[in-house]
Amino acid sequence: MERVLMKGTEACAEAAIKAGCRYFFGYPITPQNEVASYMSKRMPEVGGVYLQGESELASINMVMGASAAGARAMTSSSSPGISLMQEGISYMVGCQLPGVIVNFVRGGPGLGGIGPAQSDYLQATKGGGHGDYNLVVLGPSSIQELVDLMKDAFEIADRYRNPVLILADGIIGQMMEAVQFKFEIDPTTLPDKTWALDGAKGRTKRLINSLDLVPERLEQHNWNLQAKFAQAAETELRWEEFLLDDAETVLVCFGTVARIAKKAIENARQKGIKVGMIRPISLWPFPQAPFQKFMAGAKRFLVVEMNAGQMLQDVRLAVCCQRPIRFSGKPGGTTFNPEMIEKLIWDLEEEGSK
């Protein structure tokens, strides 16, 4: 199969098309602008629609409309734009509409900067908008993984009738790697959505709605949603175990940082340090199982993130005070390099042997 060198943003767009998405709505923001330019070129070629919304607010609501009409639809943005989309995402959850949202996270808060960051982890994994809900959140750490996860994202979204969020960062968006597209889905072959709005012809009318003014019924609706989230929490777990078998120091990183950490771990291992890494790929649901699996051998955990300590909260829940946890963060758009992470590993090692 042909490998092509592509920028993360463009690979993301192509993967969406190959996953059967024919409707893209978005509003420009760095560092994800190439998704839009790529889509504007490619969508007409495949009979799809690219439409630039007047804002992220409009864009996510266009996604909601297209999804209600039965199509695979998506948008992508970066942090400030994703904040604006929270309203629409919450409505989509309430209306039980699928859809894929990609966030190439940049440093915040406010306008922040355009450097790569992971500081939207909590917003992404703990709901983000109003109401009791979760999105399945996937955190790729290479462009190939981003491509593969795009397909999964559309499938998961359809399966649960719930939006899925891809939490990438500026590095994944802006770097280039050779990728393969191992799938090509013709959207006309996808199963019919029996709830979609396509005209009440030969059937009773359909309604897509998040409003219910009867609290008891709304409660029941919420429990139905919760049942879906519980199902997803069991089924959609994904993680990578990296050199964990004899690991005494266990790093926990996701996305780009995990990649940088791998190099640090390889280097430290060459010098005889027993270190490995748990890399959550599904950030919601958060994989707890590998923590229990390697707890016995682990002496300490080290969480490294490009934020001020967000996934750290989930790691604390997973480790449940059984081992000490160290954290090192970089909020605001700066990056770690392998040397910095290796130094963190050495520091812990020396402390441990004291």
Partner: protein
């Protein structure tokens, strides 16, 4: 009893659901719903129409029409409608919005949908206040008009001036039909029906965006009886909001 059948002169349109609506006595939302349902029947588009309900008193519009429906976030109906229409260009997509929904929180969405010339139809109900939340000032509230949030009357120095939305939409190049109508007398109802039909036809024929602003009463929040409310509308709203076809009328 005779088995002879009678020719119905007046009946519930097929597209209007046989349920009690939620509007106050004397509120024009009910009349406007009926007109829309009649037109859906007349144009034979019941099986390919979808209504995008707003947030406002007409939030439950999805219960009152026998067509597919979706309920949008406050102000976002035109964006949701855009998404549906782009997927199903053959469908007739209608947004139904109040003046808080369309002219305050959703100004950007309506202006840009209109400007893109989306093949959708917007029914805009201007009752000069926020009905659902208890009668607060809307962008369309008249100068001097007392509302829950303008107890001394709307002061333009503090709150700006009422927006003439139809004229604003008409200033764009995208729309192919823009009119302002009212429904407080039978002849006006007939005219309003005609305008709504033109706005729907603009979409059905694939020509472009159609927009009908309908001056409407809110007796409950205006603190008036239905009859007084009609009079108030005629005396205060009509002079400021002229009834006219701004785009796509006979003279243009």
């Amino acid at each position: 009893m005779s088995t002879q059948t009678y020719r119905p002169l007046y009946q519930r349109p097929k597209s209007l659901s046989p349920v009690r609506n939620s509007y106050c006595p004397g509120c024009h939302h009910g009349i406007i719903h009926r007109l829309l349902a009649e037109l859906i029947d007349e144009l034979q588009i019941q099986e390919r129409s979808v209504i995008v309900a707003p947030v406002g008193c007409s939030v439950l519009a999805y219960n009152f029409f026998e067509i597919d429906a979706i309920q949008a976030a406050h102000g976002r109906a035109p964006a949701v409608a855009t998404g549906i229409k782009r997927v199903h260009p053959e469908m007739v997509v209608i947004t139904y919005q109040g003046d808080g929904d369309l002219a305050a929180i959703g100004t950007a969405e309506i202006v840009h949908a209109a400007n893109r010339g989306e093949r959708i139809t917007t029914v805009f109900v201007n009752n000069a206040n926020f009905g659902m939340t208890g009668g607060q000032m809307a962008p369309t509230t008249l100068i001097g008009q007392k509302t829950e949030t303008t107890p001394e009357g709307r002061d333009p120095l503090r709150n700006g001036f009422p927006i003439r939305v139809a004229e604003m939409i008409a200033s764009l190049t995208g729309p192919v039909y823009v009119a302002r109508v009212a429904v407080y007398t039978p002849p006006l109802v007939a005219k309003a029906r005609n305008s709504m039909k033109k706005a729907l036809l603009a979409q059905i024929e694939g020509r472009g965006f159609g927009f009908v602003e309908i001056l409407s009463t809110c007796p409950t929040n205006w603190g008036l009886t239905p009859v007084q409310a009609t009079k108030w509308l005629e005396e205060n709203m009509v002079p400021y909001y002229p009834l006219a076809e701004f785009v796509g009328g006979p003279q243009t």
